[in-house]
Every structure is written in C-alpha cells, then in structure tokens.
C-alpha cells in the first residue's frame, strides 16, 4: 500500500509518547523493583512478610465484599429501571451515574459527611438513640466509600443488559408458577451473567486500586495502595514500593482483562 508512510507519520507522536512515558517508565519500575536490598526476593516478601500479606489479604477481602454488595444492589436497581418508563426516569439515571466523575478524595469526603463526627448518621442517631455513631474512619466507612465509588461504574452496564432481557421469558416462568426467587435464579441471572461478570471484575479492580478514598478517610486500615504510598514516601523504600505496585498492577490488570467480555470503558482509577 502506497500510504504506509503516511500511516507511520500519523502514528509517530503516539509512538514516541508511549515509548517515553509508558514503556520506558514501566521497564524502569520493574528494574527498580528487582534492585533493592532483597533483589527479586522483594516479590516473595510480599507474601512472607506479615505486614504486606495482611494488607493484600484485607484489601482483596474488602474489594470482594464491595463487588458483591455493588452487584446485588445494582442488579436490583437495574432490573427496576429497565423496561419501565416513568416521569423523571432520566433524572434518576443521571443521578445514579453523576458520581462517576468524583475523584476518590471527594468520595471520601462524601463518607465523612455521612458518617463523620458531624455526619448525618451521627446526628440522626444522637437524636434518636442518644449516641453519635461515627463510622467514616473505620473499615465500614471504607467499604461504604468503595460502594459509592463502584455503583455508578457498573449500573449502566447492568441496565443495558437488563434492557435486553426478554420480558416474555419472565412472564412465561411466572405463568408456569415460578416464584420471584426462582425466576431470578433460573431466568434473570443466567441472562445477565456476562454483564455481571464484567461489571464485577471492574468493581473489584477499582476497589483494589482505590487510593483517594482511603487517603481521605485516613483509616487505621492499611489498604494495599496506602502501603505502597507509605513505603515510598515515609520509608523511602522505592524498590519495595515498585515491587508492591507491580503486584497491584498485575492484579487489577488481570481482573480487567477478565472483564473484557463486556468491554466497559469506565476508568478503573479515579
């Protein structure tokens, strides 16, 4: 093809940028990770050293819990909204997706407003049961923050899938005497499975890598990204931080690669 040269010229700025600011730095990160005091053993120490292992474990558990809660609530909301037309519906959808643009720090602040020392929940419980319930700075606050971050990211995918569900199938199952739980288990969930899978993987990856929310809530829970941050800034252990971030990057990348079937285009980080 005569226009091969033109293609190369068009692609050149992209190639230079990606080479200088993506490939080279990622290579450098890998080299740094292996060139600390421990060498490549740094990667092993993530599993052998208690601090790193616990953090990885807790973060994964938190991400799994977030994913599960997000999928359950979002699926029900998506089913409710799909196929129904009512006044204000587009407003409801807009409000559900509006927080997509919030960075993690802002989400953290939203949780402080709900569950902080001057928060809504505390004010309400003080008036009713007499104690100021503060949850923003605990693992509960972190979980709710991740949920806040996650729901807007998956609800559109699930709604699109629920819209495609043939209502006559549900109708048929109902007329055959199936109860709502049976319909959900045997008809709806199998049909939604691909969307649930990719939305779940996205939710998991987002929760694993979330930094801003944990940073704002300044909880005592050392989630994995916070460990990387402290390792780099306070301990000035660049090679350990590099090794930890490579592991984190591989986990989120693998989760998102699994999610590819649904091809969601929402940013994982914020």
């Amino acid at each position: 093809m005569p226009n091969h040269r033109f293609n190369i010229v068009l692609l050149l700025p992209l190639a230079v940028f990606v080479l200088a600011f993506l490939i080279l730095p990622l290579g450098q990160l890998s080299v740094t990770a292996g060139s600390g005091e421990q060498g490549l053993m740094a990667f092993v120490s993530i599993l052998t050293e208690e601090r790193y292992r616990t953090s990885l474990f807790v973060t994964m558990l938190l991400a799994l819990a977030t994913t599960l809660a997000t999928l359950i609530t979002s699926t029900i909301a998506a089913q409710t909204l799909a196929g129904r037309r009512f006044p204000g519906r587009s407003l409801v959808v807009a409000l559900l997706t509006f927080p997509l643009a919030f960075p993690g720090v802002v989400v953290g602040f939203m949780i402080i407003l709900l569950g902080g020392r001057l928060g809504l929940v505390g004010t309400l419980t003080k008036a009713t049961i007499g104690t100021n319930v503060v949850f923003a700075y605990s693992i509960v606050g972190l979980f709710i923050g991740y949920l806040y971050f996650s729901i807007p990211r998956v609800i559109l995918t699930l709604m699109a899938a629920a819209e495609k569900l043939d209502p006559s199938l549900v109708e048929a199952a109902r007329s055959l005497g199936a109860g709502p739980f049976m319909i959900q288990r045997d008809v709806v969930l199998p049909a939604l499975y691909p969307a649930l899978f990719s939305a779940g993987a996205l939710s998991f990856a987002t929760a694993m890598g979330a930094f801003g929310t944990a940073f704002t809530l300044a909880t005592s829970i050392d989630v994995f990204p916070m460990v990387i941050y402290t390792e780099f800034t306070l301990a000035t252990n660049a090679s350990m931080a590099a090794a930890l971030s490579i592991v984190l990057g591989l986990v989120t990348w693998a989760a998102l690669a699994l999610a590819r079937s649904g091809s969601s285009q929402v940013p994982a980080a914020g």
Binding site: P25, V106, G212
Partner: protein, 264 residues
C-alpha cells in the same frame, strides 16, 4: 393491575441508592453555603466560604484548568492522528497498540506515577513543573480520546470518503484535515469532554507527582479535607461540582448526538 411486591422492593432500593449517592453531595453544597454547618441552614446563607476558598486555593483551580487544557491539546495532537492510523492499519498490530495505550486505565495511578517519578525524578526542572503532571494526565486520558475517535471511524465509511477525495487529486494530509477530521468531530467532541473531566478530577497520579508549587484542585481538596473546617472543605467541593457539571451535561449531549446519527 396490582403492583408486585418485588417491584415495590426494587423501587424502594433504587430510591435508597439514589439517596445514598445524592444526599452527601447536597449536604456538601448546603454546608459550603451556610454560615455554620453544625447549626444548619437556619444559621443563614453566605458566600463567605466560597470567597475564602478562592483566596486560599485559586491557584489550584487555575492550574487544574490549565493542566486540563494542555492535556486536551496533547491528546488531540497525539490521539486523533493515532486513532486514524490505527483504524487504517487494522490487523493485529493495531489491536496490540490499542491494548498497550489502554494499560494506564487498568493499572492504578499510584503505580504509574511511581514509574514516572523513578524514571524522570532526576530531571529537576521537568519533575517540578506542571508539565510533569500534564504528561501523567495524558497517559491516563489518551485511551479515551483514541477509543472515541476509533468508535466514530467504525461507524462511517471513511475508506470511500478518503478514496473519493484521493481520486479528485487531494493529498494525504489534505484528505486527513478536510475530509476525515470533519467526519470524526462527534468522536473528538466526546473524547475531549471525557479527557477534560478526567483531568480535572485526577488525584491518584497527581498526588504522587505534584510538588508544593504544582498543586491541582483535587490535591488541594485532599489538603482541605485534612486541615480545614468543614464549611471550607464543602465550599471547595462545591467549586469542583460547578466545574464538572457542565462537562457532564456536555458528555451526555454528545452521547445522545452520536446515538442519533444514522448508521450506514
């Protein structure tokens, strides 16, 4: 027809989710505008906090706008020709390049920022400038521009358009500027709005990459959340909302416009 209990439960839960997402945002708007948050709206409305935010943090707000615009300019310059070349090229190579540039969306910003700092930390002037942050933002937003343009190219018959113009004697560049660019405008528009919105809200990369002299809005927000009274933190958040809401509405309009375009 009677309403089924499942519908009722679903409706209630949906309303609860909306309330969960919207209530704190409204609280923050109210807190940013009321004289004393603890005393509630009855303490009166004021713009004092917003004015104080401007006095304390106007540099971060302006820097965020400039960084977002510079990021946009670079993603346009790099991403639009790149997307066209990838679609023209096709095949495995194009898929591979697309995968590669999408990597920064899949890797946590923290890891990317660390990689950039390790690589370019020694270049003092570059490391300390806002350009360093712009590079990080371009890295993170570029896939959105490239994909938006590629998506539109997938819906139009660019080959026929290009060949038609070529048969009339137009050069490659002329065809790119006069035929292809006007036709991919909706994609460029959607991509641009996404890029600016993401850049203004970017925290994970920026927090690691910033210096005391290159603070952006989200970095300032984290600062305010940690050390300022709730009213100022809220007024600052309100400023952020005011900046992103028009962008979000624009994004929605661009999406509607693309959907309504007739497909070949």
């Amino acid at each position: 027809m009677t309403i089924r209990w499942t519908t009722l439960v679903g409706g209630c839960l949906t309303a609860l989710i909306v309330a969960f997402l919207v209530t704190p945002a409204i609280m923050s708007i109210v807190a940013g505008l009321s004289v004393n948050y603890a005393k509630g709206l009855s303490s009166g409305l004021t713009l004092n906090w917003v004015i104080q935010v401007w006095a304390l943090y106007s540099d971060t707000i302006l820097r965020s706008i400039l960084v977002a615009l510079a990021t946009l300019a670079l993603t346009l310059l790099i991403g639009v020709p790149g997307a066209y070349a990838l679609v023209r090229q096709g095949g495995r190579l194009a898929v591979l390049v697309e995968e590669l540039i999408t990597l920064p969306v899949a890797i946590p910003g923290l890891a990317l920022a660390l990689a950039l700092i390790i690589t370019y930390g020694g270049f003092g002037a570059f490391r300390g400038s806002s350009l360093f942050i712009v590079v990080g933002h371009v890295l993170f937003t570029l896939p959105f521009m490239v994909r938006a343009v590629m998506a539109v190219l997938g819906t139009i018959d660019w080959k026929t358009l290009d060949e038609g113009a070529a048969s009339l004697g137009a050069s490659s560049w002329r065809r790119f500027f006069d035929v292809i660019l006007p036709n991919v405008r909706p994609g460029v528009m959607a991509g641009a709005l996404t890029v600016v919105t993401l850049s203004i809200g970017e925290f994970n990369l920026t927090w690691m990459m910033h210096t005391p002299l290159t603070k952006t809005l989200p970095v300032g927000l984290a600062d305010a959340y940690a050390s300022m009274r709730l009213e100022i933190a809220s007024a600052y958040t309100l400023t952020f909302f005011i900046m992103i809401v028009p962008l979000l509405i624009g994004m929605q309009m661009a999406a509607d416009f693309t959907e309504k375009r007739p497909k070949p």
